[in-house]
């Protein structure tokens, strides 16, 4: 949406369907699009004038892609051939993929990467319950749960380390928001 309030479609690389998951401070976007050639949902990133397609090699579908201001790390959530969600980082400098799943998780959904290269996740355990996790820039994971409920599902982490998201309070069925900080 421009300053005057108009909307523009973002349809990368000849696609007819897409989702933009993030735009950084420099106007670089990341998200997913339906590839008209393969019929698969793939990741894209870049400025609107020069989108680049990215596909995790063993992915059957890409669910989301985000990046930060440096736009060197493209964090992708994708579905593997077994139907589980995994997360990978695409290194835009050398083209390498690194799997960054939460240890012991049945599914890992990387939701956001901040400018310190901290990645925040919602992850699902083998019982189908959701939790939160943060991966540091050096690759260390810390998991967390809102102590007043279940199904903690973070959405974002900013550069100050504040995490927000949603959880289900104990005794309730509807989610509420949370903000968390060390």
């Amino acid at each position: 949406m421009e300053k005057n309030g108009t909307f523009k479609d973002v349809l990368p690389l000849g696609s007819s369907s897409s989702s933009v998951d993030i735009i950084n401070d420099n106007g670089v976007m990341a998200g997913t699009y339906l590839d008209p050639i393969t019929g698969l949902n793939l990741a894209f990133y870049g400025p609107p004038t020069n989108f680049t397609s990215v596909n995790v090699p063993t992915s059957t579908a890409t669910l989301a892609a985000v990046t930060n201001n440096a736009a060197k790390a493209i964090v992708i959530t994708w579905t593997d051939p077994s139907g589980n969600e995994e997360s990978s980082v695409y290194n835009a400098t050398n083209g390498n993929f690194t799997t960054v799943n939460v240890p012991s998780a049945a599914s890992s959904f990387a939701d956001y990467i901040n400018n310190h290269n901290q990645i925040v996740y919602a992850w699902e355990d083998s019982s189908g319950n959701f939790h939160g996790a943060v991966r540091s820039a050096s690759g260390q994971f810390a998991t967390f749960d809102d102590p007043d409920g279940t199904n903690t599902e973070p959405s974002a982490i900013n550069d100050a380390g504040i995490i927000d998201g949603a959880f289900t309070p104990t005794g309730a069925s509807a989610p509420q928001g949370f903000a968390a900080k060390q």
């Binding site: 100050a160 380390g161 995490i163 927000d164 949370f178 903000a179 968390a180 900080k181």
Partner: protein, 82 residues
């Protein structure tokens, strides 16, 4: 202590901490609930501690929202949270 009011979030947000996340056990949580809503979900947060998300009002109508300062804004009105 958890609180369910936006001013508490603001106090929380204003008291920014310099250190990054490192120890899950030391996280402090604040519940964020839009008053009179059925549910509240925070979906994004920028470096100015402005959060975006959605809530379902008492009639079940979904609203997008921005949490900034002591207000929640949506497409129809702006209201002060208490």
């Amino acid at each position: 202590m958890k609180v369910k009011s936006m001013p508490a979030m603001l106090i929380f947000a204003a008291a920014l901490f310099a250190a990054g996340i490192g120890n899950a056990q030391s996280l402090n949580f604040k519940t964020i609930t839009v008053p009179n809503s059925q549910e509240t979900v925070l979906a994004g947060l920028n470096n100015s501690n402005v959060a975006v998300g959605l809530y379902l009002d008492s009639s079940g109508v979904q609203h997008g929202m921005v949490i900034q300062g002591q207000t929640v804004t949506n497409g129809r009105h702006r209201r002060v949270l208490r």
